[in-house]
């Protein structure tokens, strides 16, 4: 039962990893950009949630009404005024500029909020559980987090494959010069994609802040978890990303069960194993 409980927790944490991954996967899909600052932006959203809940007296989930649009605006601006200038055939500029951004965000948060770890209080929901069997119960908060991840990925999937925005995203991804011939401004689409990515990031940031302690140095590890989920799941497949997050979460849970020092290592090893035996991931996008 103990093991089952650990695995169940791992599955639920996987939802959070899928949220990190979805934002990363989205911008890679649309503009082949890998944002090294992605994890630091998750942490930035967590701190914004801290400020907003304290200043406006809102609950963590309600604070998303403020934070998600704010982060989306930051994302759009960042893309239009900074990152669009780095896109081209050369790999280095976008990588190094987002790397610089990561350093700036991390140290900016340190400067403002100190290295002390913080936590967002969500009230009674934090300790609430649903008993499944006499020995096994499931936390309400992790469950909510997982369900939000599922709904979010479903919504992104629908947006991508059923709406005009999604068509513009996919067409821009296919051919950013021809897409202008149908009246789409590729620079604007890139901005929208980054805005959407950071809106997703803001949800992940709030859950990160509610779940456990957070501090300014946590960003890079979130980037890595998201990245591992993307690769395990298979590039370009959003549902695969969810599966990748779950695999990572379960691997970490099993590792932690064996030895607390093995939690992260087990996750990384699962990722490297997938890379070794199935480098295209479990659910790669089917190419025509």
């Amino acid at each position: 039962m103990d093991w089952l409980n650990s695995i169940l927790q791992g599955v639920l944490v996987g939802g959070l990893y899928a949220m990190f991954a979805a934002g990363l996967s989205l911008i890679f899909g649309v503009m082949r950009l890998v944002n090294i600052a992605h994890g630091d932006l998750v942490v930035l959203a967590a701190y914004l949630a801290l400020v907003v809940t304290q200043a406006l007296g809102m609950g963590p989930l309600a604070s998303l009404l403020v934070i998600a649009p704010l982060m989306a605006a930051i994302g759009y601006g960042l893309q239009r005024w900074l990152l669009n200038r780095t896109l081209g055939d050369d790999l280095l500029p976008p990588l190094l500029v987002t790397f610089g951004l990561s350093v700036i965000i991390q140290n900016g948060l340190l400067e403002i909020f100190s290295p002390d770890s913080r936590k967002l209080q969500a009230g009674a929901i934090e300790t609430a559980t649903i008993p499944l069997t006499p020995d096994l119960s499931i936390g309400v908060l992790p469950l909510v987090q997982f369900l939000v991840a599922v709904v979010m990925i479903g919504a992104l999937q629908a947006l991508f494959y059923r709406t005009a925005w999604g068509r513009a995203f996919r067409a821009t991804s296919d051919d950013q010069s021809t897409v202008q011939l149908v009246g789409v401004d590729n620079r604007h689409v890139f901005g929208l994609a980054m805005g959407l990515s950071l809106a997703v990031v803001s949800v992940a940031g709030v859950f990160l802040a509610v779940r456990a302690n957070f501090d300014p140095s946590m960003g890079p590890a979130r980037l890595i978890f998201g990245f591992e989920a993307v690769i395990i799941g298979g590039l370009g497949n959003l549902w695969g990303t969810l599966a990748g997050g779950v695999v990572l979460g379960v691997a970490q849970a099993i590792g932690a069960k064996i030895d607390p020092g093995w939690q992260l290592l087990a996750g990384h090893l699962a990722f490297l194993m997938v890379l070794a035996v199935r480098p295209e991931g479990f659910f790669p996008r089917v190419q025509a």
Binding site: L96, F99, G100, V103, N107, P220, I224, L265, L272, L275
Partner: protein, 348 residues
């Protein structure tokens, strides 16, 4: 016109620079005669960073392998030095060389995994690998586990006769490391492998269809970088005398700063990392009291340079003054004209 052209690689400036470089090297080699211990210490740190930045430049600037995980090899080098001296009683200098070899050997299977990832995903993958080594290092209880360990006094004192001799030895090792690493890089880039590398960098598909064995050359470069970086790591922790997983595998210290140096100095140029390291240490000596504000500033400077002058200081010098101290490409020069006066840059 027939037969009136010759192939040359040198420019007039480059010969002058070569003379200047030897003079500087001689001066630096004699530094223990005139410099204080603290200056020697600082110079050794600069040497280690020049070596790290040169190796990163070889990967990212010349071969398109953008890594943010080279701290893996710094840590491997440091830990190998500690293990070899403590468990097997090797002399630290011998251990430093062996640590480099270990780094190069570990790089080969790692490359087998990482080369499955393209472009930017290779970068993050390399970071994961560094994390794995950090976590593994914290499992080695004989070397202090997560909290690390110090180099035992008997090893430190047994290295050389007296404190001063030890400091000189570490200093000269650092200088030798820079010479070896830069020499290795230039030799590699001027070899036929180097020509192929630049072909890969310009167009991987075209290079592959021309029969260039892309993967094998990239593997060679990655292993050489692992070798040089691990030696630098061994030197760094020989100087620090204390190692811990967080210090040895720090992404900030061994990758962020190194990238900053390469960007400032000029990515894809031999002299770039040297210029970058000097600028970095100048900034550090004057501004590091600002703490995280200083780091934010470094990030900002790197972004501005990447956008405004992506070829860095060295590239700017080359564009503005034609200053090319270490040209890698052969040029076609009209034999009758003075090759010194106006080289026609024609890539051969």
């Amino acid at each position: 016109m027939s037969g009136a052209f010759t192939l040359t690689r040198g420019t007039g400036v480059s010969r002058l620079v070569a003379i200047g470089a030897f003079a500087a090297l001689a001066g630096l080699a004699c530094a223990p005669l005139w410099a204080q211990a603290s200056s020697l210490n600082l110079l050794t740190q600069i040497f280690a960073y020049v070596a790290l930045a040169t190796m990163w430049n070889l990967l990212a600037g010349f071969s398109g392998l953008v890594s943010v995980g080279q701290q893996a090899y710094v840590g491997i080098g440091g830990y190998a030095l500690f293990a070899l001296t403590i468990f097997w009683g090797l002399h630290p200098l011998a251990a430093l060389v062996v640590a480099g070899v270990i780094g190069g050997l570990i790089a080969i299977p790692v490359a087998g995994l990482l080369f499955r990832l393209r472009g930017a995903y290779f970068a993050i993958g390399s970071w994961v690998v560094a994390e794995v080594f950090r976590l593994l290092a914290s499992q080695i209880s004989a070397l202090g586990g997560g909290s690390g360990t110090s180099l035992p006094a008997r090893i430190v004192t047994g290295m050389a006769d007296g404190r001063q001799a030890r400091e000189f030895m570490i200093y000269w090792t650092g200088l030798a490391l820079v010479v070896v690493v830069i020499g290795l890089t230039i030799a590699l880039l001027r070899s036929r492998w180097g020509l192929a590398l630049r072909a890969i960098h310009h167009n991987e598909l075209a290079a592959r269809s021309n029969g260039v064995e892309v993967t094998r050359i990239k593997l060679l470069v990655y292993a050489v970088a692992g070798f040089g970086t691990a030696m630098a790591g061994a030197l760094i922790f020989l100087q620090k005398l204390r190692i811990s997983p967080d210090a040895a595998f720090s992404v900030n210290d061994w990758t962020a700063f190194v990238i900053f140096m390469a960007v400032i100095g000029g990515i894809g140029r031999i002299e770039g990392p040297i210029i970058g390291a000097v600028v970095f240490f100048f900034l550090r000596q004057t501004l590091s009291d600002l703490g995280s504000l200083y780091l934010m500033m470094l990030g900002l400077v790197a972004i501005v340079i990447m956008l405004r002058a992506p070829r860095g200081v060295a590239g700017w010098l080359a564009d503005r003054f034609g200053f090319e101290p270490a040209p890698l490409e052969r040029r076609l020069v009209h034999a009758k004209s003075n090759p010194e006066s106006k080289p026609e840059p024609s890539h051969v």
